[in-house]
């Protein structure tokens, strides 16, 4: 299947993927996680989070594993992990390039 996640992820997208690295999560937990991880620097609006989750699901980066009332829990897929690692590598190279340019 064609991978729709071409190009760099946006900051909110990267943090949402990051939230799933250690454990499965539901939407509200992700908001708290991103808030704590970034110290409030990155704010996830509810519309944005809902859209990102829907898009990630559609692209096969996460999958729904449980529904409990109003909460849906998602799990990071291998493809999602691969995308996260690829993005991390890209950002590290960007950082390296930036630091090299300062020397």
């Amino acid at each position: 299947m064609k991978n729709k996640m071409r190009g760099p992820l946006t900051e909110p997208m990267l943090y949402v993927l990051m939230a799933f690295l250690k454990q499965d999560m539901c939407g509200i937990d992700i908001t708290e996680y991103v808030n704590q991880r970034t110290g409030g620097r990155v704010h996830l609006g509810p519309g944005t989070l809902y859209t990102i989750l829907a898009k990630f699901q559609e692209d096969g980066l996460i999958e729904e594993v449980a529904v409990d009332g109003r909460k849906r829990t998602y799990h990071l897929t291998d493809k999602g992990r691969e995308t996260y690692m690829g993005e991390l590598e890209r950002l590290q190279k960007c950082l390296q390039d930036g630091e090299n340019a300062l020397r």
Partner: protein, 383 residues
Amino acid sequence: MSKKSCWKLIPVNGYDISAIECYLERMAAQGFLFSMTAGPLTLFCREEPKALQFHLEPILSRAEEDAELNALYEDAGWKYLGIFRNNYFVFATENLEAEAHTDPEALDYVLKRFSRQKLLSGLGLLAFNVFLIALYRDGWPGSFGWTELQYFPVESISKYPVLPLLLSVAGLLLLDLSYLLGLLCLRRCRVVKSAGRVSRSGCLLVVGIFVLIPVALNTIQLFSGLGYRPIDLADSNFVTLSEIEGPEFRLTGDSMYAMDYISHGGTLLDPESWYLRQYGAYSHFDGGIDINNVPHLILSISRYPLDSLAEKRTQEWCAYRAGEENYQNLLPVDGLDEAYLLQGNQKCYLVLRQGRTVLRADYQGEQDLSGFLKRFAQMMQAL
């Protein structure tokens, strides 16, 4: 005591998200809180006037409450209010600084998918255009002749679906224009989120729907068979050939060989009409008989919504056969407003008007129809 809720027509285009949000905010500030929509109407509940921020989240799947979405919004301080025209979930918050979307790329993704969906729904609108125009295509003056429409306008709108076609074209044009402007609004919304602007192009949709309502009712009447209401020839109280010529010209009820036939119909946009046809002693087995020489009576009756239309139709019917000046004016006759007779050799045409009802009788026979005027007046009165 003021009402607890009220329905309003929103003058904003249904695809102009920012403009709808802005409109709902203004309404909330006046004490009208969004509740739900039904077609072009929107229900507002009476509440304390409040400064609220509204957000419309485009619906990308089924138009039903999404528990997860509502939980996310409520956790962020928004309140779910309902669904707007099956297109958006409506949320509101008292926090005027709150942001529902914090990632422009994610927002663009939503709007792009929503636009694509709406583009596809345009195919449905196109099919609706084709259906209505095809259904009433006989009303196009080009198909029956512009001259006929020019000289016999009332007869033309009686015989052909001119009115339904005109209303369909007008209503569809407004709907299509509203839809295209809506797509432009969506495209603009993706490029730049405008604030404080209330466009009025939603009026096109509202007016278009109102123009199409009579067409819709007319179409329902046609398809449900309500446009045709059969009546029994024997109990119809119609003047028949039997009454004029004598009992030997009896009603046979045989629409095939004796050509006895009666019909009655009419819809909202098609004047109510009656038609009776009775031929005496005509049979397909009588090969040498010319149908025009057989005694017969044909009655065509129409009832119009306005006296003036009926008067015009009377003039048209007289002009159609020989010109009004050749008709003999039979007035005064009790119960009739107009009565004209054109007498030929064993053939005559009678045109009568009683208020909004007009009758034309084509008669082949030896009797004098002017002797039956009171009977015709009584028949028209009973319709």
